[in-house]
Symmetry: C2
Subunit: 517 residues, 2 copies
Amino acid sequence: MADKTSASQTEGAKSNAKNETKNEATSEAKATREEKLVQDVADLDDYARWYQDVVYKADMADLSPVRGCMVIRPYGYALWENMQRQLDDRIKATGHENLYFPLFIPYSFLMKEAEHVEGFAPEVALVTRAGGEELEDPLVVRPTSETVIGYMYAQWVHSYRDLPLLYNQWANVVRWEKRTRPFLRTSEFLWQEGHTVHRTEQEAEDETLLILNAVYQDFVEKELAIPVIPGRKSESEKFAGALRTYSIEAMMGDGKALQAATSHNLGQNFARSFGIEFQDADGQVKTAWTTSWGASTRLVGALIMAHGDANGLRMPPRVAPTQAIIVPIWRKDEEREAVAKLVSEVEAALRTAGVRVKADWREERPGWKYNEWELRGVPVRIEIGPRDAANGQVMLVPRTDRSAKEAVAARAVAERVPALLEEIQRALYEQALAFRLSRTYQAADYDQFRALFADRSKQGFVEAWWCGDAACEAQVKAETQATIRNLPLDHPEKPADAICVHCGRPASDWAIFARAY
Amino acid sequence: MADKTSASQTEGAKSNAKNETKNEATSEAKATREEKLVQDVADLDDYARWYQDVVYKADMADLSPVRGCMVIRPYGYALWENMQRQLDDRIKATGHENLYFPLFIPYSFLMKEAEHVEGFAPEVALVTRAGGEELEDPLVVRPTSETVIGYMYAQWVHSYRDLPLLYNQWANVVRWEKRTRPFLRTSEFLWQEGHTVHRTEQEAEDETLLILNAVYQDFVEKELAIPVIPGRKSESEKFAGALRTYSIEAMMGDGKALQAATSHNLGQNFARSFGIEFQDADGQVKTAWTTSWGASTRLVGALIMAHGDANGLRMPPRVAPTQAIIVPIWRKDEEREAVAKLVSEVEAALRTAGVRVKADWREERPGWKYNEWELRGVPVRIEIGPRDAANGQVMLVPRTDRSAKEAVAARAVAERVPALLEEIQRALYEQALAFRLSRTYQAADYDQFRALFADRSKQGFVEAWWCGDAACEAQVKAETQATIRNLPLDHPEKPADAICVHCGRPASDWAIFARAY
C-alpha cells in the first residue's frame, strides 16, 4: 500500500509538470470546456486516470491500508462538511429530525425481508467475535438500516397520532465491493439515510417525491451546480425491498451517468416484515407505509467529475472549502510590506462579508501557487502585487475562465467577490447543463442506438421508448454496457404507436440509457 | 427487548404520577437542589434507576436489539448535535481540521504498540467474514484510531515543514463492554478523536494541555454548565500507550465522578511503532511526538446527571434543543383565538431573537404539559392564557426555580427571554459548583478517608496526599471502591512532611479520590 501511494504521488508530480506546459498552451488557444475535457481524456490514457489523479493530487482522499476503504483528507472532508450542512438544512426544513441507530444489525434481521436479504447479503461484513467470545448470532455491519430501524419503529408506532415519523441519520455504512474507487465506490462510505413511516400509500409516495425534488434535486442543482434528471428506476434497478425507487441522475465529464441520490417508496414490505402497525382513527389496526432515501460521499465524486477540467477541480462556490485564495506577489522586502498590508485588509474585508478566504504566503513562486489552487478548484484567485498595492487595487481571476481577469479597487472587493462567486456558481451549472444537452441523444432505432454508444469520446445519454421488459433491458446492457438510468418524471407524451427502441414491441416508458458509474 | 421497553414505559408512567404529587409538595416547601436529589435517591431505590427513567421517559435514548448498543432518539440527538457544533467550533478555532479514517483496522496493526493492544484487544469486535469470504487478516472495528492513523501519518510526514499535523475526526467507535448503560457506557458510541503530530516533546505537551483547557474545560464549563477539575491521570488510569493522560473530572448528582474528556501526550510510543519520522531543519531524521484526545456521547450522560433533579432533566440553555416552550391555556374557542394570536406573535419575536422556541398546542391539560416539559428540561416555560392575552403579557417560568415565575409584557419577551436563558445557564453552573464544593472533603488520615466513603448519601470527592504507588492506589480501591480521578493541575503546595493518606509514606501528589462512572 505504501508503495502504491508513493507511485501515485510520483505520477502526480509528473502530470503536474505536464499540466504546467499544458496551461501555457491552453491560455493561448483557449479551448471550450467540452473540448478541454475531450482533450484531457485523449491526453491521459483515460478519464478514470484523470479522476484518480485529481483525487490524490488535490488531497481529497488517500488510499488506506484496509482494502476498499479510503481516508478522506481535510480538503475533501471540508467539502463534505459543507455539503452535509446544506443537505441537513433541507432535511430539517422539510420537517425531519436526526437520530442515531446502531452500527450493527443482527444477521437474522436481514433475513426478514426476502428481497432485501438477496440484495445485500452477498456484500455484508460480519462481526463473528466480540469481547473475546464467538457471537451466537453474528452481527452485520450495516449496509443500510431499514431492518434495525423497522424493528424500532414497530415499538414506537402505536396510533395514527404517532404518524408520520420523519427521521434521518448521518452514518457510515459498509458494503463489501469487489472493485472500488475513491468516493465513487468504497467499502465504507458516509451518508445520510432517511426513514419515514406514514398512514397511507399516498402519503408515503408524496414523501418519496418531496425528498427527491425539494431535498435532493434542489440541493444538487443549487449547491453543487450539477443539473440532474429525476425519474423512476426500472424494476431491475430498484432498491432491494422497495415498491418504487426514484433517483436523480447526473452526467459526468466523460458522458457517463452517475446516480446522485435515491428515494424509495418501500410500500408495506418492511412494515409487514417488522410489524409496524397502528390503530387508525376508525379503530382498525393497519399496516403502515414506509420510505427510505439516501445520499452519500459519492456526491464528492460526482462534483469532481461534473465540473473538473484539465487543470483539476472546479469547486462550486457554495460548497467550496476555500472560496477565494489570495496570492501575494513580491520580490523585495519593502514590496512585501506594502503587499502584506493590502492583503490583510482585503482578507479582513472578505471575511466580514462571509467569504471563506485564505492568503498563501508560502515561499514559492506565484505560478506554482496558481497551479496548485487551480488544481484544488478554488473559485476565485486574488493576485496582489506591488503595483496593485500602490494603486489600491487587486486582480480577480475566476477559476472558470482565466481570461476574464479583472482589476477591482480594494475597497470594492467585499462587494465584487461575493457577486463573482454567484456568477461562477451559475456558470458551472450552465456549463454542466450545456454539456449534458450536447451529449443527450434520441435514438429512432436500435442501429442508431448502438452507434451512439460505439464512439466513447461522444458517449452520453440516449433517450428512447422502452417496452418495460427486464429481459429487453438486460440485452441492451449486454450489447452496449448501457443501463436504464431512470424513467424521467418529465417526459414526452407517448404517441399511440410508440415502440421499444430495442425490441420494437409497444412501448411503456420513456427511458434514459447510459453507461454509468 | 420489546418487553423490557414496555416495562420501562410502564414504570415511566407510574413515576410520572408520583412526580405530580411530589411537585405539589415541593412547591410548598421548596427544597434546595441538593436535598431534592437526596430525596430522589431515597425515593427511587437508587440513583441509577432515576437516571434510566429520565433517559427513557424524556425520549433521550432507547434500548436497541443489539446488546450494549442504544438508539439515540431525536431529543437526545438534537442535544448531541448542539454539543458537537460547540465543541467543533473550539477544535477548529485552535487550528485543527476534520478528516475521516476507515472504520476498520487490520488486527495486526493493533499488535504494533504493546501497551495499546493489551488495553484494547480484550474488548474489540472482529470482522472475520466479508463479501462472502473469510478474511485472511481479520479487521477490528475501531475502538480508537491511533494505529490506523499512525500508519497514515507515517506516509504524510516527511519534513519538519509538514508539522504540526492538527487533525480531528468525528466517528463511531466500538468497545465490547460487559455492563452497559445508555450514554455512560455503550458498546458503540459517538465521539471525536483528535490526533496530532509534533516536532518536539514540548509542543506535544502544550497541545495536550491546550486541548484539555481551551477546548474541553472551556466547552464543558461554558456550554454544558458543568464545573470540572483538570488534572493528570495516575499511571494505572492512563490511556493504553500514552506517556501522560490528562482528564477533566466532573461530579454527578450522586457525588460520584465522571471523566468528561481525556487528552493524551503519546510521547514517541506510536510514532516509533508506526515510523512517523521527519527530517528536521538540522538535516537529522527524527521520530515525531504525537497526541490524541477525545470526548464522546458520554457527555450527554454527564449533563443529565450533573443537572437533573426529581422532576427530570434540566438542559443548559446554550445546548438545549428547545430553549423555551410556550404552553397556551384556554377553555372556550373564543379564548383560544385570542391566545393563539399572542402565542404566534411571541413565537415569532423569540425566533427572530434567535431563541429555539416551540408552542405546544396538543389537546392535553396544561399541568400535564408542564410536567412533560419539565421532564425534558426545557429551560423556560412561557404560559399564555386568556387573561395574559387581554393584558398583552406572558408568564415566564424558569426550569431552575418554579417559584421565580414572572409576568412580562409581550413586547419585552424578545429581550427578557434571552437574558433569562443566560441567568439559567449561570444558575446551573453555580448550583453544580456549590454542590461539588459541598461534597468535596479533605481527609487527614485513612480512618477519616474510609468514613467519608461509608455514607453513600454524602459521597463525593476526597482530596488527599498520595505516595504515587500504584499498589497503594489499588488497595484504596479494593477497600473503598474509590479510585484516583486525577492529580489536579491546580493543587496546594506540598508541605515537606506531607504523607500518603493510605500508607503514611512520603507523598508525591495531591489526588482526588472518588467512586466513578
